[in-house]
Subunit: 187 residues, 2 copies
């Protein structure tokens, strides 16, 4: 029942935005009684933070598995950054975006979102560095891994108001080629 509530919350966030999300709408969508919902998540903030955390971790784990299963070789970097780009253009990113933007002007929400964001950010960095086979002891490599994540975040934001998957693909292919050159430079 908890998982059903969390999935329904993300669906409602994606469809209606943070302001349009209410605990009533979520219980209806999940087919869960108001009483049961309030028992698990007393407030809207509890519900949306738990939902974004749950889905981010589940989809992040799926992404990490998919990336780990990619074959080694010349096209690996392209495949990794393309998968990352698709992940940040998915509905889970839209739900997280709703939460981040609402937290910007809501101190109570920010207190819950900031540590979640830090944890998720560290995990995404660790996963990306491993997937790219990036040796972060080399000068500048750590910053390139960070830049890769900030780039897909920016592309994800752009994708929320225009469908630009062809543009995204061209940019990410080019960036993958640059990453390959940079990560092997002067070794």
């Amino acid at each position: 029942m908890r998982a059903r509530l969390l999935e329904a919350t993300v669906d409602v966030l994606v469809e209606r935005g943070f302001a349009g999300t209410s605990t009533t709408l979520v219980s209806e969508r999940a087919g869960v009684s108001r009483g049961a919902q309030l028992h698990h998540f007393p407030t809207k903030n509890d519900l949306v933070v738990a939902a974004v955390e749950h889905l981010t971790e589940r989809r992040g784990a799926e992404l990490a598995q998919a990336v780990a299963a990619l074959p080694a070789g010349g096209k690996r970097t392209r495949a990794v950054v393309t998968m990352l780009g698709d992940h940040f253009a998915s509905p889970v990113f839209a739900a997280a975006l709703e939460l981040w933007v609402a937290a910007r002007t809501d101190e109570t929400l920010l207190a819950a979102v900031a540590p979640l964001e830090q944890r998720v950010g560290r995990e995404a960095h660790r996963m990306t560095a491993a997937a790219l086979g990036a040796d972060e002891s080399w000068p500048g490599v750590r910053e390139l891994v960070q830049a890769t994540l900030d780039l897909v975040r920016g592309l994800g934001l752009a994708s929320t108001i225009s469908d630009d998957s062809a543009r995204r693909r061209r940019i990410l292919h080019q960036w993958a080629d640059v990453l390959d050159r940079e990560m092997t430079r002067s070794r």
Copy 2:
């Protein structure tokens, strides 16, 4: 009076977010009568779209001037991307972000925001390519200019919930060095 209303709208968007912005709050903040405000901007959507457009264009023009005035030479690329990064971490970006995210789930607002976003995006691209002295007839260079803008957008989004200006600077310096290498590669 129009400019005062638009500046006040951006201030209220930054402080309270899209959901917390009302035409009443804006008229109070601007010291403009409700009647005069309604005469200029009949609806909240008219007001917020005009405000983000006005401020984006004004600050964009200021940025273009500042960038054009930078000296040529070895550190120019770093200076350009640092200025871009600061621009996308400013309150005007936060106001635009509020508008974009609200437009994602509001068709009427999206119809006004999508063409504005396209126009601003094209202008930002043109300005950035010129500032970097990027020759976009070379394969891959156009995509790197686009990636630079998506990167600063992603960094701007991150900066709305955590103050990470030192991290941003390190990433942008590294990015600038990569741009310099890539833009002169195999010429």
